[in-house]
């Protein structure tokens, strides 16, 4: 009798997992990537960089795709960054994205959940270091907060968003449109933008890419939101609008990536009236690479960022020279030198320059 009741309890305990067990294992795919880095600032150690030369257990990510039904796919990327150790409050663990995607047809898929903002070339792959030739994604178009201070440092678009997305693709083009809570300027604000919005305005982000030939892809991105928090001292909202264009071209050996972003920050009161001067910013990146052999690819990257078009002599330019060596399939060694030059009115670099060496080992699986 006791045996029967134990068996019964065991079956009852297994019931919640019945659905999972019903999903054949060939419908579940586990992939992932890892990156280990070294950085050292060679010149102006008082600006930012690392004066000591440090190793960084940059990230370890697990990417899971579950084809739950013929039409429903669940996709997530769970990251462990900088040697995440919660016991000591070091590093961090995060959901990069976790969404459900329901396919109506190839031209229309509906996503819900937390997603990467679909803007430009890099944001959707910015953590996946095996997918990029250089060590870090370009700062001028993706990380203005690394190149200036104050309101101009607001990113052109949030890295992540939570909401609804429409996705579609055909042989020649693809698109994605996301309606989301958008961003919140203050990280320690009362609300979490992946859980609740702190205003009624929803963010709209989108990208359209068109491939006229097998080697060439052109794209256009936009992001618009009205968020509270930036310049909150005078109780205003910030309307952010960003527009980007991109070009990817590749031949057997050479490749070109070009991206440019224009963004504006408009400070408005509760009646939507402008109450402060608008800030307009531009960033651009050009990446050139040429494969000397199947596994050895040198690259040159040029970046330009103007934090405020109304302020003269505040620009920053960056030149990166590097080499990418594929040691084994999806296993890369990257070495590069970054040279940052600034004009005298740049609020972060103050006219100084900086040189930094960076190295990374990136693995995809």
């Amino acid at each position: 009798m006791k045996f029967i009741s134990n068996k019964f309890i065991f079956i009852i305990l297994l019931l919640p997992f019945a659905n999972l067990l019903a999903t054949p294992w060939d419908k579940i795919r586990l992939n992932g990537y890892s990156s280990f880095e070294f950085e050292q600032e060679l010149t102006n150690t008082d600006i930012k960089g690392d004066p000591y030369g440090s190793f960084d257990a940059d990230l370890f990510d697990l990417v899971l795709n579950i084809q739950a039904t013929d039409r429903l796919r669940i996709s997530t990327d769970i990251t462990f960054e900088h040697g995440a150790s919660t016991e000591n409050g070091r590093g961090n663990v995060a959901i990069e994205y976790a969404f459900a995607e329901y396919t109506v047809s190839d031209l229309l898929k509906v996503r819900t959940g937390k997603m990467f903002s679909a803007f430009g070339i890099y944001n959707e792959i910015h953590t996946a270091k095996p997918a990029t030739i250089q060590v870090k994604e370009p700062r001028a178009t993706n990380k203005p907060d690394k190149l200036t201070t104050g309101l101009s440092a607001t990113r052109f678009f949030p890295r992540w968003n939570t909401g609804i997305g429409l996705v579609g693709s055909s042989e020649k083009y693809d698109y994605i449109i996301q309606l989301s809570n958008g961003d919140q300027e203050e990280v320690d604000a009362d609300t979490n933008p992946y859980e609740a919005d702190n205003n009624t305005q929803k963010a709209l982000t989108g990208r359209y890419r068109y491939s006229p030939t097998d080697n060439l892809r052109l794209g256009f991105s936009f992001h618009h939101d009205l968020f509270t928090g930036a310049n909150a001292d005078i109780n205003k909202s910030t309307e952010i609008s960003s527009y980007g264009i991109q070009l990817n071209w590749e031949s057997d050996k050479a490749a070109i990536e070009l991206e440019s972003v224009y963004g504006s920050l408009d400070f408005v009161d509760e009646n939507n009236a402008t109450v402060n001067e608008k800030i307009e910013r531009v960033g651009a990146t050009l990446l050139l690479s040429y494969s000397l052999t199947e596994v050895l690819t040198p690259y040159l990257e040029f970046e330009y960022f103007d934090p405020n078009l109304d302020i003269k002599e505040d620009e920053i330019s960056i030149i990166i020279a590097g080499i990418n060596y594929e040691i084994d399939s999806n296993f890369y060694l990257k070495l590069e030198v970054d040279r940052v030059s600034s004009a005298e009115n740049n609020s972060l670099y103050l006219g100084r320059f900086s040189s930094e060496i960076k190295a990374a080992v990136a693995i995809g699986f």
Partner: protein
């Protein structure tokens, strides 16, 4: 006149062989495909049959000459670039790459068991009754 038309039809629609590679599917696979359709399927841009059945593209992990030629000639990406293309798509949440099977036995089993399966194999492979060679048109 009729002979010319017949010749054109034969040229446009046939079991196309690319450097000894052919495309095979499950016997219940009803759609007719163009070469561009096959390219879109292996690049993850076309994921459905006309009746919305999910497609399951696959190839052999061992990458024989015929499969490698197929990537270059039909997919228009040498295998190394194809691999990099999929790395970006997988990690950015845009789906999963075609399945890689360890040996021809597993590949044929996979195709025979999945209605939407479509695979690249050498034209020397012996096929059973559950599998057919897909005629492709340009």
């Amino acid at each position: 006149m009729y002979l010319n038309k017949l010749l054109i039809i034969l040229l446009l629609s046939s079991s196309v062989v690319f450097a000894n590679a052919i495309i095979i599917t499950n016997k219940n696979f009803k759609d007719t495909l163009t070469i561009n359709d096959v390219k879109s399927i292996f690049l993850g841009k076309k994921t459905r049959l006309s009746d919305q059945t999910l497609l399951y593209p696959a190839y052999l992990e061992t990458l024989d000459e015929s499969t490698l030629s197929f990537f270059t000639q039909v997919i228009k990406k040498p295998y190394r670039k194809f691999n990099k293309y999929w790395i970006k798509r997988v990690f950015s949440g845009h789906g999963v790459p075609p399945k890689r099977l360890k040996n021809i036995g597993q590949l044929l089993k996979y195709v025979s068991e999945n209605k939407g399966a479509i695979a690249i194999v050498s034209n020397k492979v012996k096929l059973d009754g559950d599998i057919k060679v897909l005629p492709l048109s340009w």
